[in-house]
Each structure stands twice: as structure tokens, then as C-alpha cells.
């Protein structure tokens, strides 16, 4: 292939990717656009991409009539706490399974993996009754109980520890006088930064977008997460597209911001899994 031909091919690939990206983005952009439209323009045909008379009415009524900000707050605190819990449980469990090879540990690991096979929905209802008996319905703790551990996270960390933390590193620290917790905190955790960041992104969005569990645990309007709250817009007899769009647009913002912040970590963490030196 000549240089020019290669350039042309690259250009075609770029064009294809840009078109594809726009296609993926279009529904989201449409959603944001809809949030600024009046009800009449919303149903007009052909649909407009840029609202003719942008209005903030939808936002005003959504924020006025529903506790949208409270729901976002509920989701946010739930997702953040779940992320912290999953990062901690996965890193401890993954590290112990990888580096403390007593015989029973493989059984434990197999059990962890087995939980990945059982869909959450299967044990959701028994878990619900436990949460109810504990009196934790409508609380953040109750929500968290279903999202403290992630078997994939344990697996991911175990593989990373095996691949990128040699035994000698931990042994050297032990000889130098470090305790086990110190080693975990000052050596294992820093070396797992990449995969943990990737795991954090996964865990955050898993909690942020969870629906069935918050739906049954949160029975009071004030305890809803944003997903549950949004769903209620369309469950009545009418669907108020304008309000739904405005609410959805509000929800998109934190997701997009979080992704932009964590994107580099995420890509690096997933791509470099086990590929260090």
C-alpha cells in the first residue's frame, strides 16, 4: 500500500467512526433537545433538533413537582457508598485469594464465582425480606445490602494480583517489618490503582443504573433513587414527554461528568489488566 492509499483508508475509517459515534449520540442529544421544547413542538413532525422556542418550563415543573434533586442525591450517595464497599471488598478478597494459598481458599473462591452465575433477581426477594426484618426498608443501608460485594470485582482483582504483584514484593515488605494491613494499604492498593479505578467505574454505574432492587426496597417517594423516580413518569395513564426528558437530562449530567473524569482510568485499567512488566 502506498502512503496516499493508507491515508485515504485512514480517512474513510475516521469518517465511518464519526458517523457511528453521531448515531450513538443522537438519541441522547435528542433527549436533551426535547427537554427544552414546548409540548406542541415535542409532537410536531418532522422533529426539530434545535428547539424553535427554547423553554425552561419542563425543568421548572419537574423540579417543582417532584423531589428530583433528592432522588439524585439518593442515587449518588447509594452509588458512591456501593462503589467504596465494592472496591474495598474486592481488593481485600481478591488479594487474599491470590496471595494466601491455603487449601480451603480455592473452595471459597469457587463459591464467590458461583454467585456470579446466580442472577441477582433470584435471591432478590429473600434478600428483601431480610432487609425488611432488619427494618431497613426505605434506607440507604437497605439499598446497600444488595450492592456490597461484586463477584466479578473479586475475580478481576485476583487476576491482577496474580499477574502484577510478585510474591517477593510482599515478602520483602514482611522482612522489612511491615504488618499485613500495612502491606495491603501501602503496597497492594497503590499497585492495583488501574484495575481498581476500572472496577470503581463499573461499580458506580451498576449502582447508579440499578432499578429492580431500589424499586422494591424504596417504598416511599422520598426514598426513591433517580431510576425509580424516572420510571414513575411513564407509569401513569399519560406520559409527559417534556418532563420526562427534562428529568432525564438532569440525570445524564452526573453520569457524563463522572465518565469524563474517570474515562482515562477506566480505559487504562481494563486495557492494562495483567500486562504490567
Amino acid at each position: 500500500m502506498t502512503r496516499n492509499q493508507r491515508k485515504a483508508t485512514d480517512f474513510m475509517i475516521d469518517v465511518g467512526l464519526v458517523l457511528f459515534g453521531l448515531l450513538m449520540l443522537a438519541p441522547l442529544l435528542m433527549l436533551v433537545a426535547n427537554a427544552f421544547k414546548s409540548p406542541a413542538e415535542m409532537v410536531a413532525w418532522p422533529p426539530t433538533f434545535i428547539p424553535a422556542n427554547p423553554t425552561l418550563d419542563n425543568f421548572r415543573s419537574v423540579l417543582g413537582e417532584t423531589p428530583l434533586l433528592l432522588w439524585i442525591w439518593n442515587s449518588l450517595s447509594f452509588a458512591i457508598m456501593s462503589t467504596i464497599a465494592i472496591v474495598l471488598t474486592s481488593s481485600i478478597a481478591g488479594y487474599v485469594i491470590a496471595k494466601f494459598p491455603f487449601r480451603s481458599i480455592n473452595v471459597v473462591f469457587a463459591l464467590f464465582l458461583a454467585t456470579a452465575i446466580v442472577p441477582f433477581e433470584v435471591y432478590m426477594i429473600p434478600l428483601y425480606f431480610q432487609v425488611k426484618d432488619l427494618g431497613m426498608l426505605n434506607t440507604n443501608q437497605g439499598l446497600l445490602i444488595g450492592y456490597l460485594v461484586m463477584s466479578f470485582g473479586i475475580f478481576l482483582i485476583r487476576q491482577n494480583v496474580l499477574a502484577s504483584i510478585p510474591d517477593e514484593l510482599i515478602e520483602a515488605a514482611r522482612i522489612d517489618g511491615a504488618g499485613e494491613l500495612w502491606i495491603y494499604w501501602h503496597i497492594v492498593l497503590p499497585l492495583l490503582r488501574g484495575p481498581l479505578a476500572a472496577l470503581a467505574v463499573l461499580a458506580f454505574f451498576q449502582a447508579w443504573t440499578s432499578f429492580a432492587w431500589p424499586m422494591i426496597v424504596a417504598t416511599r417517594r422520598a426514598a426513591y433513587t433517580i431510576e425509580v423516580g424516572l420510571a414513575l413518569f411513564s407509569t401513569g395513564y399519560t406520559v409527559d414527554l417534556g418532563k420526562l426528558s427534562a428529568a432525564s437530562a438532569c440525570v445524564l449530567v452526573p453520569s457524563v461528568v463522572a465518565f469524563v473524569i474517570l474515562r482515562r482510568n477506566f480505559v487504562q485499567g481494563v486495557a492494562s489488566t495483567g500486562m504490567k512488566e
Binding site: 514484593l169 515478602e171 522482612i175 522489612d176 517489618g177 499497585l191
Partner: protein, 353 residues
């Protein structure tokens, strides 16, 4: 500084015993090399000393104190691993000051100690770098530095130079030796390279399959190997061992009398001759030369002696070619005799020869 005593040490992994009763004494300040082929248990002994593995039977003492049950951090040792085990997320200075930081030493004190160790090792310009920004030799030095800063009673090294290229290995060998001469810390050094052991150690312990074959000063091992294994292992190129016969008070091989046999020895015997002890002479034995490697100052000749492969190292630039028939001889007092079955050295009555 302290002496190290290992008494009848045994180690089993599950049902399999890999160290079968090893006894080693290391006097205070001595540099001892543990050598042996791969899998003979050198690393295992070091790990037992460091407390990274549990002792199955026997005792280990450092400075007179039995430390079988003592945790690694309280054994007052420093270990340098083959892969250096540097913390990738810490700078050279942080790596070196790691143990002091754990001892809650002041920042000022840590900086001073790290600084002086870096001075010794020529690492001062690299203190702010991360391990991945260093060459292999520099990483090796950082690992050394980490051990030095610890100021331990005992240094343990597990093949610290095996990841370096040949030239750097020779240089680091000298540096390590110089550091030992300066600090005089008791050192146990594991290697499978007998040249490294010969040049660096005050004493060498030769191991095989979890047993100590022989322990002694480098030249003693060379001059008086306890058995054929040590004889072959120590010295390069390794000793020729021939299956000989005793008859008429003489050790005979390839139709030639080589030396007087000790009294009351009869039948088969193994005869060991170092390649460098052969001389071109008027003796009866003839080497059928197959291969000649001139290295400049020396000539390495390989061939058949009495139908058995033999190596001869001539200290001169000899005009020998493949196909030649080379008459070779050895001074009788340089010949080693070993038991035909066990391979143990037979006492020689070398007086008067």
C-alpha cells in the same frame, strides 16, 4: 553483626522432604556462598532463614538466639531477591528508606542514612527516580541499598546477579565484595554459579538434592573435594572422572599406570584429573584430539582418552589440531581417587610423591 548456626535443618512441603538435615555454621562477619544445581534447596534454606517458610525440624540461630518461631521482621536480617522486589510505586529513596519508615525513624534520619547508602552505591543522582526508569544494574544496587539501610545482623542474597549481563555481573561481584569488606556484615549468598562463589566467598557450602555435600574454603574445595559431585562442580572446566582399575599397586587407565594406589585398595576406582593439570608429556597415555578451542592465553582441547571423552586445558598457545594424537601426563600428586560406588574421596598416601 552475628553468627548464624543452622543445625540439622529439615523442611518438608507436604509429604515431600526437600531439605534433609542440613548443618551450616557461619561465623560472625563471614561471607558464605551456598551453591548447587537448580532445585537443590538453596532458596528454600534462605527463605527458612528469613522466616518466609516454617521450619519442619532442626534449629536456626542468629547471634546465639534460636529464631525458629521468630517473625521475619524481628530476625534482624535483610534479603535481596533475584528479581530485586523493588516497590514500583516508590522512588529509589523511598524504596531504600522503607524499613526505616516502618521503624518510625525521623525524616531527617532517614534522609541521612539513605544518602550515605546511596553514596556507597553511586546512586545519589537517581534517588528521585522510579525503579522502571533504572537499568538492571542500577535496580540491583537499589535492592542492595535497601538492605544496607536496614543495618541488619545478616545479609541474605538469592542469586542477586543472575539477571545481569556477564560484564556487569563481574563488576557487581567486585562491588559486592568491596561492600562486604567495608561493612563486615555476616552474609549468606546463594548462587548456582561456582565462579561467583569461588571469587567472592570466604567459605562455600556445596549442596545437592537437599544435602550438604561439602563445606570449606574455596581453594580447599578445589584441592580436596569430598566426592565426585563436588569435584565436578567446583572448578571450570570441570574435572575429568575416569573409571580406572587398581592392579599391582598402581592405578591403571587407558593402558597406563597413573599413580601409586593406596594400600589395601583393589578393583575398580574412579580417577579424577583436572583439565588444567594435564601436561603434554612423555607419559604413556595418548589423547585423540577432536576439538581445539584457543582462547588466546589458553588452549582448551577436547578428545578421547582410552575411549572416554576427556578435557585438557593447556596454559600455552599450543599448536594442536583436531586429529592429532597428543601424549599427556599428570603429576601423580595431582590425581584424585574416588570410591567406585559411592563417589567419596579415597585417602591418598601422597607423602613422598
Amino acid at each position: 553483626m552475628a553468627s548464624v548456626e543452622i543445625r540439622d535443618l529439615r523442611k518438608s512441603f507436604g509429604p515431600i522432604e526437600t531439605i534433609h538435615g542440613v548443618t551450616i555454621d557461619v561465623p560472625d562477619g563471614e561471607f558464605v556462598a551456598l551453591v548447587g544445581p537448580s532445585g537443590c534447596g538453596k532458596s528454600t534454606i534462605l527463605r527458612l532463614l528469613a522466616g518466609l517458610e516454617e521450619v519442619t525440624a532442626g534449629t536456626i540461630s542468629i547471634g546465639g538466639r534460636v529464631i525458629n518461631e521468630v517473625e521475619p521482621k524481628h530476625r534482624d536480617i535483610a534479603m535481596v531477591f533475584q528479581n530485586y522486589a523493588l516497590y514500583p510505586h516508590m522512588t529509589v529513596a523511598e524504596n531504600m528508606g522503607f524499613s526505616m519508615r516502618l521503624l518510625k525513624k525521623s525524616k531527617e534520619e532517614i534522609r541521612r542514612e539513605v544518602g550515605s547508602a546511596a553514596e556507597i552505591l553511586g546512586l545519589t543522582p537517581y534517588l528521585g527516580r522510579y525503579p522502571k526508569q533504572l537499568s538492571g544494574g542500577q535496580r540491583q544496587r537499589v535492592a542492595m541499598g535497601r538492605a544496607i539501610v536496614r543495618q541488619p545482623q545478616v545479609f541474605l542474597f538469592d542469586e542477586p546477579l543472575s539477571n545481569l549481563d556477564a560484564q556487569l555481573r563481574v563488576q557487581m561481584r567486585a562491588e559486592l565484595k568491596a561492600i562486604h569488606n567495608r561493612l563486615k556484615v555476616t552474609t549468606i549468598y546463594v548462587t548456582h554459579d561456582q565462579v561467583e562463589a569461588m571469587t567472592m566467598a570466604d567459605r562455600i557450602v556445596v549442596m545437592k538434592d537437599g544435602y550438604v555435600m561439602q563445606a570449606g574454603a574455596p581453594l580447599d574445595l578445589y584441592d580436596q573435594p569430598a566426592n565426585t559431585f563436588v569435584a565436578r562442580f567446583v572448578g571450570s572446566p570441570s574435572m575429568n572422572i575416569f573409571a580406572a582399575d587398581v592392579s599391582g599397586g598402581q592405578v591403571q587407565f587407558a593402558g597406563t599406570d597413573w599413580c601409586a594406589a593406596p594400600a589395601d585398595l583393589a578393583g575398580a576406582v574412579q580417577m579424577g584429573i583436572r583439565p588444567e593439570h594435564f601436561t603434554i608429556g612423555e607419559g604413556g597415555a595418548v589423547l585423540a584430539v577432536e576439538n581445539v578451542d584457543p582462547t588466546g592465553s589458553e588452549t582448551l582441547v577436547q578428545g578421547q582418552l582410552g575411549g572416554v571423552p576427556a578435557t585438557v586445558l593447556l596454559r600455552t598457545r599450543a599448536a594442536v589440531r583436531a586429529g592429532d594424537l597428543l601424549p599427556v601426563a599428570v603429576r601423580p600428586e595431582l590425581i584424585h581417587l574416588f570410591d567406585a560406588e559411592s563417589g567419596d574421596t579415597l585417602p591418598m598416601n601422597s607423602e613422598g610423591l
